[in-house]
């Protein structure tokens, strides 16, 4: 940092602090640095002091964040211990989905021949109308706005 003016060196060090800290102490810290440098304290030592403190500030968890960090650690530990439990709880919807896929494939030979088509509703729709979930649930029409025949596929079967 020998080519940089002292104020710039200190300014760079101060930018390492979190924004919250800079809002609170930023101008005051810059002014204090200017006074210290005017007193003969080397700008490099002032900048180093701010750099080390900025690193401490970023690495030390805040009281509020400490709780979040503890919760995250608990979740990680629980996750690593409870993977089988998670699989068990997730198996119900997963098995239902696989059963539905199997049911759809049995009625749609094209989809069973081409699994990609069954995964891509747009592709399968262009090939043959099938009973696939709507790709955009938020665009799904209101159930009461259509007649009952809308819920049947071309074979007259309920989806």
């Amino acid at each position: 940092m020998p080519g940089l003016p002292p104020a710039r060196v200190v300014g760079l060090a101060l930018r390492c602090y979190p924004r919250r800290w800079r809002r609170r102490h930023g101008t005051e810290a810059a002014e204090l640095a200017a006074l210290l440098i005017a007193d003969g304290v080397p700008a490099r030592s002032v900048a180093c002091s701010y750099l080390c403190a900025a690193a401490r500030e970023r690495l030390t968890p805040r009281p509020g964040h400490r709780l979040a960090a503890a919760a995250a650690a608990l979740l990680i530990v629980a996750g690593s211990l409870g993977v089988p439990l998670g699989l068990l709880s997730a198996s119900a919807p997963a098995s239902a989905a696989s059963a539905a896929r199997g049911h759809s494939a049995s009625r749609n030979p094209a989809a069973s021949r081409n699994p990609a088509a069954s995964r891509n509703p747009a592709a399968s729709a262009s090939a043959q109308p099938t009973c696939t979930p709507h790709p955009h649930p938020h665009l799904r029409p209101h159930p009461h706005s259509h007649s009952r025949s809308d819920t049947r596929d071309d074979h007259g079967q309920h989806c």
């Binding site: 005051e28 180093c48 403190a53």
Partner: protein
Amino acid sequence: MAVDSQDVLRRAGDASVLILTSLADGPKHGYALIQDIKAFAGLQLGPGTLYGALDRLERLGLVESLPTDERRHPYQITVAGAAALRAHLDSLERVSAVGRLRLRLGGI
């Protein structure tokens, strides 16, 4: 010797004790704190160390920043801060007395 449980500054670090000692006779802003500490302790606190310690002391409720229109914030010691400083200095005094006594007994 029992450790004083009231001494919250035991783990706060030397900078915190120096800052509280400096603020004991009235509010000061950052630059005045550094100059005062240099005068009575012969130690130049880095500005980063100073603000880190001030933030910690403020979180502990041992100092508070005074409202001001200027860019410099004066800090003042709180009642809890004064009590904590007193407890810490009492603890240091006991340690100092034991240390001096043992040095004398040891003939060093």
